[in-house]
Amino acid sequence: MTPTPRHQSSTTSPLPPNPYTLPPLFTTDHHTIGRLYLLLALFSVIIGTTLSLHMRLHLIWPGLNIERILPGSYLAIMTVHGTIMLFFVLTTAPQSGFGNLILPAQIGSRRMALPLVNAFSFWLTALSLLVLCSSAFTEAGSPLSGWTAYPPLSAVASAGPGQGLGMDLWLASIALFAIASTMSSINTLVTIIRLRCEGMTWDRLPLTVWGWFTAALLSILAFSVLLAALLLLFCDRHAGTSFFLPANDLVNGTLHTSGSGSPLLWLHLFWFFGHPEVYIAILPGMGLTSMLLANFARRRVFAYRTMIVTTLLIGFLGILVWGHHMFISGLSPYAISAFSVSTIAIGIPATAKVLSWLATIWRSRPQYTTAMLFSLGFVSLFITGGLTGPILAQPILDQYLHNTFFVVAHFHLIMAMAGVFALFAATYYWFPQITRSATCPGRLMSETLGRWHFATTLLGAYATFLPMHLTGLAGEPRHYAQLSGVPNAAGHLLADLLPLNRFITAAAIFLASAQLLFLVNLVRSLRHGQLAPTNPWQATTMEWRPALKNISPIHETNSRADVSDLKIVVYRSPCEYHSSLHPSSFTPQWEPEITLNTTDDDPE
């Protein structure tokens, strides 16, 4: 950090030339790092989706024996699917990918606060992904204990295939990821706190920045606890401790007499991380959705300040609700009543957000760009997935629904699908920012392909995840490798669910295939996309600020007329649209005077 006082933040002074001559891949440039993160997330989401299709096929067609194509059992594939999607897609892409690409520009900074830490975090994350993937190529394959890795299944190597070396690699991978995420969150927080340009007061911050800020706060708390838990589990496995191993545990014919711990401790530590983690994944998406709805409806976000408060409130309550993952795990029933109350309470700020979104677009006749469509899709999926939250927050109902597909439907809609819709909105909206370089303006993605992508994805998402509520209510448990060939009364219960499961698998294949539209659009637009005008969406936030327009040179004696010598100043809050006159009449944050002229940068 530069020791300069606040009013002369370091963004106003030119950066010293980078003293390290690194090859381009090892850059400390936040823009490149952001793109690398997105590339990593894209690679991960392709793997994660392939794995999920494999699971869906195995579920209805266990004789297919796809194990020959992909290494590992159904459960190993499920573990990697969950781990890769949660960590390397839903955490990495919004928080680190778009966080690096957009966040500095939105607060009027030319860089992230800690460039070296930033580069180090990225390469740790990449290493972490490599270690995770390598577990699939060990003799016994990846671990099978799921992304939650409950001991003793995860603590004892003989508990199942993959619980030896595979589990050690999983632990190493997630530990690296936790370190990388903690460092990256510190970078995000320092950047937001110290590098806001002149005039960028806290209440002028776009809601996306509030999302990144709250998610970074949660990350530091959550990932540091996860790291500690991982270390304790590692010690249980290799150093003879027994934090999580109970007394006289008889696993697979071997009696472990040395234990004196409790698996319950892991559940507490893991979910103290795990629940904030899902908010880390979704908070940036909530912020982006708010800003995009406002921009394409040409209205200020309804109840803007309430939105800031609810973002912080969701973050705060997010660390008080971990017990709802343990309603039926043997906690005191009184403690469970308390966790139920805190969980219901988190529905209140979430509802306030939905009301704000609905009010923002109410009778606005918005412009249906692909980014807007995906934001509307986010609202729809967030409502649908969110509504089942209060049901699962009631312990007596969780006593029936726990670990059924009802839960799978709930979190895939609100976290996975809503999260991915926010990522799609971000990609279509910020594509010019992703593709721009120092010498060349960015490109736009094809809107026609984008609309088809939206329609098919929305249909596929609902067709895949809505019926899961029904199979869950009918009693289908999670984590079952197959539904046929099961003995006893359970066999009938599961076999009855096969027809609906066949439909879900078909819908999942449709949903995954629809993503080819996105990939084609992405690859084509990278080279042949239409060149974007300076502010293609007529946005008011700082990342669309023209490089040389309306910025006054700093008055200190400085001979260099470089762009980086020019001071960035913010004059107003975001979302100043003068809709009563003309939809394209607006005043961006960098504009000193309110101008009611229409701009010539029309998107179409």
């Binding site: 059992s73 459960l75 099978l144 204990s145 409950y150 003793p152 004892v156 109970p246 545990d249 008889l250 696993v251 698996p263 109840a303 309430t306 043997g330 029933p333 009543s337 139920s340 109350v341 209140i348 509802t351 306030a352 009301l355 704000s356 009010a359 109410w362 009778r363 006749r365 509307l376 609202v379 409502i383 649908t384 509504l387 089942t388 209060p390 049901i391 009631q394 312990p395 007596i396 109902l397 006593q399 029936y400 726990h402 670990n403 029904l470 199979t471 209510l473 009918a474 009693g475 448990p477 999670r478 079952y480 490798a481 060939g485 006893n488 009364a489 359970a490 219960l493 809709s579 009563s580």
Partner: protein, 248 residues
């Protein structure tokens, strides 16, 4: 039956326990409220998109805080009822006269132990546990209470009598779930836990493992057979005399 009519679209398997009736009622109420809120919110979303643009100023209290208060009130009402049901089910233990059965979960099987005529479970030692020798739960034969304990691979219960289950996990976490009894409990090794319920309808029901426990998780299940009281006590007498014959 009205309950059947409102339950039909949701695919709930028939309930066969006393507490399940109120649970189902509350679950169905929740599901219908959620379905209505889903429809209402999407109607508002779509109407808001198709209606003519307006720039009339709106009152934040009326648009946001009032509906928020209404939904908060709804959440509180649902949660209060849920807490009441939860307290009924879990705040107190089973009636002292409840039938005692011990459930042992292991990769990937369920065993059920009945205490026999002395109504007392013998001590178990994990080092003695060996399914191959017919002692899967590790009963200590030197315990005087051991002789009449018998172990089955299906859970047999009488209708209309409360049962107090003691759940054990021998190795890793397991989930004890009987969907048609509307009952589920995660079992942690080293931490036995009690659950109690009263079955009502004779029949055969699925007992599932619902907590990921390893490769055989999907096939770790057993049958619950609920018998009429007369049939149950006949079965119990037969099992006890068979156990006596085996011991002598």
């Amino acid at each position: 039956m009205a309950l059947h009519f409102i339950a039909e679209p949701w695919h709930l398997p028939a309930n066969a326990s006393i507490h399940g009736l109120a649970l189902d009622h509350h679950l169905l109420l929740n599901l219908w409220i959620v379905a209505a809120l889903f429809a209402l919110s999407h109607l508002i979303l779509l109407l808001g998109l198709v209606l003519r643009r307006t720039s009339a100023p709106r009152n934040t209290w009326r648009v946001e805080y009032l509906p928020l208060a209404a939904i908060t009130f709804l959440f509180i009402a649902l949660a209060a009822q849920a807490e009441r049901l939860w307290a009924d089910a879990r705040y107190t233990g089973a009636d002292p006269g409840a039938l005692q059965v011990e459930v042992t979960a292991m990769q990937f099987a369920w065993y059920f132990r009945y205490p026999g005529t002395d109504a007392t479970f013998a001590i178990t030692r994990p080092q003695l546990a060996d399914p191959a020798t017919g002692n899967p739960v590790g009963i200590d034969p030197s315990d005087p209470h051991a002789a009449d304990d018998f172990v089955t691979t299906e859970l047999v219960l009488p209708a209309h009598r409360e049962v107090d289950l003691t759940l054990h996990a021998q190795d890793v976490l397991h989930g004890f779930s009987i969907p048609q009894m509307r009952l589920q409990q995660t079992i942690l090794p080293g931490q036995p836990i009690h659950v109690h319920f009263t079955p009502t309808t004779p029949g055969t029901y699925a007992i599932l493992c619902t907590q990921l426990c390893g490769t055989g998780h999907f096939r770790m299940n057993a049958n619950l057979r609920v018998l009429s009281p007369a049939d149950f006590y006949a079965w119990l007498a037969a099992m006890q005399s068979a156990q006596k014959a085996a011991q002598s």
